[in-house]
Structure formats: structure tokens, C-alpha cells
């Protein structure tokens, strides 16, 4: 009996070491996202809409992660996300449909392109701050949208561009949706880990310093030029990669989906969840996109009147910003704290009851 107890303590220590590893939560999130897919693979009849909802959510999480580096750490608000995601989708569509290029090569091309675009926008942002930056990026996004509509040879205009099939190495293959879903999940896990590393590293700290006070940051040796460019490039790379994944998973891209509404939704997701916590971003994205797609669309009331879900989202955003400006993740944190306090009090009372004065 004693022997077994001791050994289990050893095992417990090992498990707690795994449990407290900073990446453990991300693996759990990825697994939760994969559950529906795994059920479908195992033969259960799960509606495609639900499956798509999880796919969308994961792609939007990746985009929101990049946005949080820009907003939560760099302190710069951009409304150009939609345009960048759109570029990602059309790059995939153009190169696979017309040049039959390998998807891996396309990803490399998009990353290089994103670095260039991000550098240009970052360079513009050096002289502009706050609201004006948001307006300028919004203008940029609208310009891109017009380009998507009118460059018909590449984007097929307002009819939308559909993907013929993904080229892995040589031939066009109709890759199974299930495998793409799993690949997206793995990429999301990778992105989460990378973002956490970046946030906890000296670069993340330098970005935070810049956000708090530019002059103080400069006095501490932080180059504003370098870090603004870095923040913009990082977020652009994330957005374009999100676009690539969107095109490979959904297979269809239309200019009207890359409008201001999309950028605003990403902004809302980051703010509702909490701009400086990865769990917060996951939560916020799920609230803004996933909840609507996966849960509300299954309820008949919301299916009949799609406008209600928009109202619901708006109310949610107002409530969060009024009562929890730090994001929903703060709310959860404070609830956890309260529960901890209550259990401690209860334990104290119980102990006093057991070891206290005997009523006899």
C-alpha cells in the first residue's frame, strides 16, 4: 500500500511537469479543435457546416495572432488585414491554376511577398500614429479590394476564383479535406508556440516598451524604426499565411469577403478576447467567428433570422468593452481566482471544525 503511494507520487510529479509546460495548453486546444474531425474520420455522420466552422476558426486564429502582435504588443491599429488575407488567397489561386506550382513553393513565395508588403506598410507607419494609421491601412485595404475586383486575369473579378486542385509536388491532386484540416491544426499549433516565444522574448519586451512610451524605449536602446517594421512584417506574414490556408481549405475566394467587415471582425476578436494573451485570442476568435458558425447556426431561430447573430455579437462586444476592457480572458482569470479563494475559505472552516474545540 505504502509502496504504491510513493510510486504514484513520483508519477504525479512527472505529470505536473508536463502539465505546467507552457505549450501544454496549446496542444489541448489543438486537440479540442481536432475532435470533430476525428469523429468524422471514424465514421460518424457530422454535418459539413460544423466541420467548416472549426476550420474557419483555426484560420482566423492564425490571422488574429499576427494582429495581436501588432496591436497588443506594437500598439498600432491596422484595418488592412482583409486586403492582406485576400492577397494570400489569390496568390495560391493564381499560381496553382495557371502555373501548377507546388504548394510548398507557394508558401515560400507568400512569405517573401509578405515581408516586402509588411516592410512597405511599416515604413509608411513610421510617421503616422493611432487613428490616422488605421485610416491609411483602411485605404490600402480598399485599394487592394478594387484591384481584386478589376484584375480579372488573375482574380476572375467579382465572380470569385475557385481552386482547381492543390499541387503537392508534380501533379494536381484533389487533396482530401480531412488531411488539410489536420495540416491547418498543426500549423496553428506551430504558430501559437512561435507567437508565445516571441511575446516572452526580448523582442516582445522591446515592443511593449515601444507601446508604453516611445521616448523611454529609445532611451533604453530600442530602435523604433526596426521594431515597427518588425511588428508590421510579422502580422503581414501571419495574414498572408492565413489567406493561403483559407484558399487551400475552402477553395474559393471572392473580393466581397475581403472588405472592411472582415478587418473589423478580426479587430473585435482580438479586443474581446484580450490582446496580450494567446488563450484570450483563441477565446475571442471563437466568440466572434466560431460561436456563430458552430453553435448559433445549429439553432433554428438563428438560422431563420441571420441578422440576430450579428446583434448578438455586437451586444457581446459592448458588454466586454464596458465591463472587462482587458478582454474575456481577464473575466475567466478573475472567476478562477474567486473560486480559489472560496475553496480556501471553505477548507479553513472545515479544518477549524475538525481540529477545533470538541463540543463534548
Amino acid at each position: 500500500m505504502i509502496y504504491q503511494n510513493k510510486m504514484s507520487a513520483d508519477r504525479k510529479a512527472k505529470f505536473s511537469a508536463i502539465k505546467h509546460h507552457p505549450y501544454f495548453g496549446f496542444v489541448i486546444i489543438t486537440f479540442l479543435m481536432l475532435i470533430v474531425q476525428l469523429l468524422r474520420v471514424s465514421g460518424l455522420d457530422i454535418p459539413v457546416a460544423l466541420l467548416r466552422a472549426f476550420g474557419y476558426t483555426m484560420i482566423y486564429i492564425i490571422i488574429a495572432l499576427g494582429f495581436s502582435v501588432l496591436l497588443g504588443y506594437g500598439g498600432m491599429a491596422s484595418l488592412g488585414t482583409a486586403g492582406f488575407v485576400g492577397i494570400g488567397t489569390y496568390v495560391v489561386g493564381y499560381f496553382t491554376n495557371q502555373h501548377e506550382m507546388s504548394i510548398f513553393l507557394i508558401i515560400i513565395i507568400t512569405i517573401l511577398g509578405a515581408i516586402i508588403i509588411g516592410a512597405i506598410v511599416g515604413f509608411i507607419s513610421l510617421r503616422i500614429e493611432g487613428m490616422y494609421l488605421a485610416i491609411i491601412t483602411l485605404g490600402l485595404s480598399e485599394i487592394l479590394n478594387e484591384v481584386f475586383k478589376n484584375a480579372t486575369t488573375i482574380t476572375n473579378g467579382t465572380n470569385g476564383l475557385s481552386l482547381d486542385g492543390i499541387v503537392l509536388f508534380n501533379d494536381a491532386i484533389q487533396v482530401n479535406h480531412n488531411t488539410i484540416f489536420i495540416a491547418i491544426a498543426v500549423i496553428m499549433l506551430f504558430m501559437m508556440i512561435i507567437t508565445l516565444n516571441l511575446m516572452k522574448s526580448p523582442t516582445g519586451r522591446a515592443l511593449l516598451a515601444m507601446r508604453n512610451s516611445q521616448s523611454a524605449a529609445q532611451a533604453l536602446g530600442v530602435s523604433i524604426f526596426k521594431y515597427r517594421l518588425l511588428a508590421f512584417i510579422t502580422s503581414t506574414v501571419y495574414a498572408l499565411l492565413g489567406g493561403v490556408m483559407y484558399m487551400t481549405y475552402i477553395g474559393f475566394s471572392i473580393p466581397s469577403s475581403w472588405s472592411l467587415a472582415f478587418s473589423l471582425n478580426i479587430l473585435a476578436a482580438v479586443i474581446v478576447g484580450g490582446a496580450q494573451s494567446i488563450y484570450g485570442i483563441v477565446l475571442g476568435t471563437f466568440m466572434i467567428f466560431g460561436l456563430n458558425l458552430a453553435v448559433l447556426q445549429q439553432i433554428p431561430l438563428f438560422v431563420q433570422n441571420p441578422a440576430i447573430s450579428v446583434v448578438f455579437n455586437g451586444l457581446l462586444i459592448i458588454a466586454v468593452i464596458m465591463f472587462y476592457p482587458g478582454g474575456l480572458i481577464r473575466l475567466i482569470g478573475s472567476i478562477g481566482h474567486q473560486i480559489k479563494l472560496k475553496t480556501q475559505q471553505w477548507k479553513k472552516k472545515r479544518r477549524a471544525y475538525i481540529y477545533g474545540d470538541d463540543p463534548e
Binding site: 522574448s201 526580448p202 519586451r205 521616448s215 533604453l220 536602446g221 530600442v222
Partner: protein
Amino acid sequence: MATILNKVKLWYLEKRLTSHEIKLDFNKNYLPIKKKEIDEKYNNKCVMMNLKMKNDLLSYDISLGIKSEFLAQEFETENKHIEHKYHWKKRALVQTLKRKNISAGEELGKLENEKNDLLEEIKSKFYPKSLDETEKEGLEVKYQEIKNSYLEKKNLSTNNYSTKLEKFVSKTDEVIKNYETKIVAIKKQLQTLEVKVDNGILEDGELLRLDHLSMNFGGLKAVDDLSFSVKEGEIFGLIGPNGAGKTTVFNCITRFYKPTFGEMHFKNKLNDITDLNGIVVHNIIKEGIARTFQNVEMIWELNILENLLVAGHTEYRSGFFGHLFNSRLLRQEEVVMKMKAQKILEDLDLFQYAYQYPMGLPYGTLKKIELARTLMVNPNLIILDEPAAGLNDAETEALVKTIRKIRDDYKTTIFLVEHDMTLVMEICDTVCAISFGKKLAIGTPKEIQSSKVVREAYLGGE
């Protein structure tokens, strides 16, 4: 042509020298930390092994009747456990019986009997009856075998540990020696190369010198033809009435403003004379000038230790991709920098705040933390912009002590702007008084106090 080539070579060699010195410093700092880590690992392993051995030998211990401490402890805990359990049961029983108005005698007796039975059972488990001679011998042989195997394992691991430690120490020693020899060689080369740098600008013992500094904002002359010099190792105070242009001078030195006219020369970390006019704002800290601000500029989302680490930002060698993938170099550097920050916090009696967030801390403490932050880069010159602003008398006194301590322990020069005359007169070695951007007087605090011009500037003339 030859001079240009020489200059390029000089620049290259200096760059290499600094990088080598940083690497040497890093290795020297990392050695004791890594040693400690290896030690800790070994100790933990030993403890675990002992525990496992005890667990494996426990059943033999019991049957052979060996009374080890471990066993006694286990026995006691088991006993306690049962006592508690029955205490609970008894209380519950008494209460229910009271409610039903039944006398408790019989039921309680039953409970007592149960408890005693259990206790005896456990006693028999821990202290069983004696065995036959043959059985005992067999058990003893097995017992010894297990014990010996564990001892062998332990010996092996100790050998491993010592070889590992030796390997690591010898390796890092080699690296350190390598860098030292490299540095010596580069220094020799530099000596032969050294084109006479204009040392004439700074006199002996001077650290910073301003010549005819002027700064105009439109038609307003904030600083007008100001020149003075700061000596090494002193506390230099700049005073003046409101709007005299003290902060403008600071901002010129730290390159937040570009002076309209005038030269500034500074002896940097490498004992080179640099022209401050040619340096960008964010590189000023690399030359060895660290500053604080009038209102504290903290990073509110980070705790105090991380706030210090931000100041050490320029000392990291790992790049962006290293940060993305949490590279080994970054992890090592973080450990070294954290140790450095902890040491500074301990020196200034701030260690209790290390893991707190700056929001809600008292203003005086925040000022002190800002001071600590400047020390992260081993600066030559610390510039304090009104360190006593907003502090009460007790806090100001503490500040005087810490400023002196920093000057003595970290061997830096301190240059401060202040309104609090008692602080300035108490602490400064040299004081420079300015008014409307012009120099009035420079000298020891006593000389300034007795100066007529200064009095007029503060209190007004007749």
C-alpha cells in the same frame, strides 16, 4: 588613402574586440550558473535514487524487522491517519445520537474496538512475527543484492557527474582562454595601428565636454553658447530657475534634440572619444549613457525584473529568429541577464519587488527602480532628470544614499538636474548654474551658494 584604410581596419578591429569581450563576459558569467545547475541535477538524482532504494527494500525491511527511520515515519503517519478518521466518525456519531437523545456509551465502545483492531493490524504489518533461520538467511542475501545493485548505480552516476562537470569546466575554460588570447592579440594590433585619435579635445579625467552648445526653438534660444565639462567619477549637478533650459541640455546630450550649434564629446565604454553629434538616439545607450525621466516611464505590463531586462536589451546577441524558436543561446542569455538583474535589485534593496508589477507601487520605489534599470548596461554616465521630484523628505534621503552607493559601487559618473537645493548641495561635487540658457557659474556647492550672480537669478536683482 592609407589613412582611410587604417581607419577601416581600426573600425573592424574594434567591432571584433567588442564582440569578443561580450562573449568572454557571457562565458565567465555562465560558468557558475551552469555548474550550479549540474550540481542540483545530481543532487536531485541522488535523492530520487535513495527514495527508490528505500521503497524497494521496504518489504524486506519489514519482514527482517529492521527498524529504519523511514519505516517508523510511515508507521506514525498511518497511525495518525486512522486516529483522524475515527475522530471524525466519533464526532458525527455523538451529534446524531444527541439529536436522537440516546446515550452514547455502547456505540462509542464499538467504535473504539474497531479502531483498536485496525491499529493492531497495521502494527502487525509493520512489525511482523519472527521468521525461521533459513528463511531469514535467504531474505538477507536478497536484501544485500538489491542494496549492492543500487550502490553500484549510484557510483556510476557519481562518476558520470564528475566527468560531465570536468568536461564542461575544461571546455569553457578553453573557450575563455581562447577569447582572452584573441583579445590580447587584437589589442596589440590596435596599439600598432592606432592613428592618434584627437585626444586633445578632452583633458585628463574628463568624461563629457560640451563646447558652445546652442539650441534654438524658432526664435527662442533655449540653450545659448553653453560649455562645461564633467569629470570622471563625480556627481555633477545642473541647476537653474524654471525654464532655464536644463532639460533641453539633457535632451541634447541624449540626442532627443539635435542642437543647432555646438559640439559634444564623450569618453565611451571603450575609452574612445566619440562625437555625440554623430550618434542616433537608440544607440546612445551603447556608448554608455543611461538616463531616467522626470515622470517615471515604466512598462506597466511587465514585472520589475522584466522591466530591468528591457534595459539590457542591447546586450543580447541572439537575433529575431533565435527569439522565435527560443534558441539555446537565448535561454542561456536570459539566465545570465536575470542573474545580473537580481544582483542589482538585491544591491539596491529592491528584491522584494522583483516579481511584482509596477502598477500601484509607491512613487519613490518606482524612481529607485528606474535608477536600477540604468545599471543594467554598466553605464559610464548616468543622467538623472529631477530624481527627487515628487518625493517626500524620507524618500529623498534614501535617494541620496542610493545615488552615492551607485557612484561608489558601480564606478560611474552621475549627472543630474534638480530643483531640490538641499539635495543638490548635499550630494554634488560640482554644480553648474544656468539661467535662460546661459552659464552663470560653475564650482563647488559652497562657491555657488555664495555667488552673487546665482542669487540674483533666483531671487531677482535690486
